[in-house]
Symmetry: C2
Subunit: 143 residues, 2 copies
Amino acid sequence: MTDRRDNGGTDDLEAALRGAGLRITRQRRVILAILAGGDDHPDALALFRRAARQDPSISLSTVYRTMKVLEERGAIQRHTFEGGPARFEPADGVHHDHLIDLDSGEVIEFRSERIEKLQDEIARELGYEIVSHRLELYGRRRK
Amino acid sequence: MTDRRDNGGTDDLEAALRGAGLRITRQRRVILAILAGGDDHPDALALFRRAARQDPSISLSTVYRTMKVLEERGAIQRHTFEGGPARFEPADGVHHDHLIDLDSGEVIEFRSERIEKLQDEIARELGYEIVSHRLELYGRRRK
DNA sequence: GTACATGCAAATGATTTGCACAAGA
DNA sequence: TCTTGTGCAAATCATTTGCATGTAC
């Protein structure tokens, strides 16, 4: 047993690349392991720094390029929270929203069936079909 | 009677600047009128182009600087929808969320008391206090 | 007159891209 | 081998800022 999540693990990410006829390079292997291993939402620079510890030859461009292909394959999710740079997380199949801790930058995931449903109702009333949505709560720990 | 909204009109915007001891310059007057007059959500460049028609000497920097002070005074809202640059709208006092038409870029405003309430409940359950939030629906017109 | 505002150009920060070389399949 | 990937530097995009000059109050 491992503490790695069932989905979004290195194997799933590798499969996403392989399935598209893309290559598993030494640097991609490192990046995928970091993505799959962590349970936070790192940005490109954080990913780059962590990767560089294992392989100092990795470049920031490669991190960005890898994020782009993984996103195109639906293997990861890209989030752009207020202010900061894009942050990434392995796609876990189940959609969820985010609560961002304004003090620490920490991201807490949550999911509300009722909110999802209400969103659909609203879109329908306005004559629209939802393609995607984003719901982000920004707050601080209650004392 | 005017088709200008009750709130977020030129007068409100001017008041926001005056109240902070700031000056109403020729270029600010033009920008404020455009913001107050339109009912869309223009980005800095769009604002700049419209302003330049009335006063070709206006610079993009001034648009950005004006957006910054107005935002600091709470007179306008800045939105960063997926992808694109920041877009602005006069603050109308009542909070609302947005549905973005993926084909036209058009922004439709809506408000759901029930969603607002659910968000508060969720944050509370997670031990947080919401400072702000953003809910954006991206979709296309239903045929 | 004096502090605040402006235009311009240069700086910034995040991200992307062109190119010559390297390396998976 | 042949195509895809990489590092590096330069380019791009949105936005900000330094500075000398202009102007609202």
